[in-house]
Amino acid sequence: DVKVTQSSRYLVKRTGEKVFLECVQDMDHENMFWYRQDPGLGLRLIYFSYDVKMKEKGDIPEGYSVSREKKERFSLILESASTNQTSMYLCASSSTRQGSEAFFGQGTRLTVV
């Protein structure tokens, strides 16, 4: 059974803290993605990576950075958390093989107070 695992289901952090969200996949997928999901706005792409050490900005990268040192792991970093980063964060992975859908992790609900 394919699996994308996010390190935390729920997280509460203070404004200004550095926050790490971790995502691990066991499917040997090349592509990995970080989305945030907010009511009325759907899923918006923050960053994605198509190979180890490679990263591309998505639609809303401001205030975030990412790291992909190993193929199976993709980390999202909030350098200095702010209240407007309170959201549901979803990690996904996919293969570059044609016809391959993206598989999602269970999500991390981050609250910044």
């Binding site: 994308v4 592509n31 993605f33 989305y35 009325g40 706005l41 759907g42 899923l43 918006r44 792409l45 994605f48 198509y50 591309e56 998505g58 979803l90 996904a92 996919s94 570059t96 016809g99 391959s100 859908e101 993206a102 598989f103 999602f104 992790g105 269970q106 999500g107």
Partner: protein, 111 residues
């Protein structure tokens, strides 16, 4: 800018009703259209549509793509309370295979 628009935003129906969810897209280098169902946690994959006019079916759910008019529909017949969820539509492009999502349709099926 790539865009996916879903309608309606939300819908309340009674068990047994048939519903149609809509998804239109404007995406450069379009490859496929995907539908996901999201209950309390991770979106789960329903369908991937790449060719126009070919219906994909899974039980009471079916979906079709029109690449000329740039839209897709998801049909659910004989709805059940377990169909209550957010239904997400996403367009997949070629190249980096980014998924561009719509805002989703929140479906509530009442007993």
């Amino acid at each position: 800018e790539d865009k996916v628009v879903q309608s309606p935003l939300s819908l309340v129906v009674h068990e047994g009703d048939t519903v149609t969810l809509n998804c239109s897209y404007e995406v450069t280098n379009f490859r496929s259209l995907l539908w996901y169902k999201q209950e309390k946690k991770a979106p789960t994959f329903l369908f991937m549509l790449t060719s126009s006019g070919i219906e994909k079916k899974s039980g009471r759910l079916s979906s079709i793509l029109d690449k000329k008019e740039l839209f897709s529909i998801l049909n659910i017949t004989a709805t059940q309370t377990g169909d209550s969820a957010i239904y997400l539509c996403a367009a997949l492009n070629t190249g980096f295979q980014k998924l561009v999502f719509g805002t989703g349709t929140r479906l509530l099926v009442s007993p």
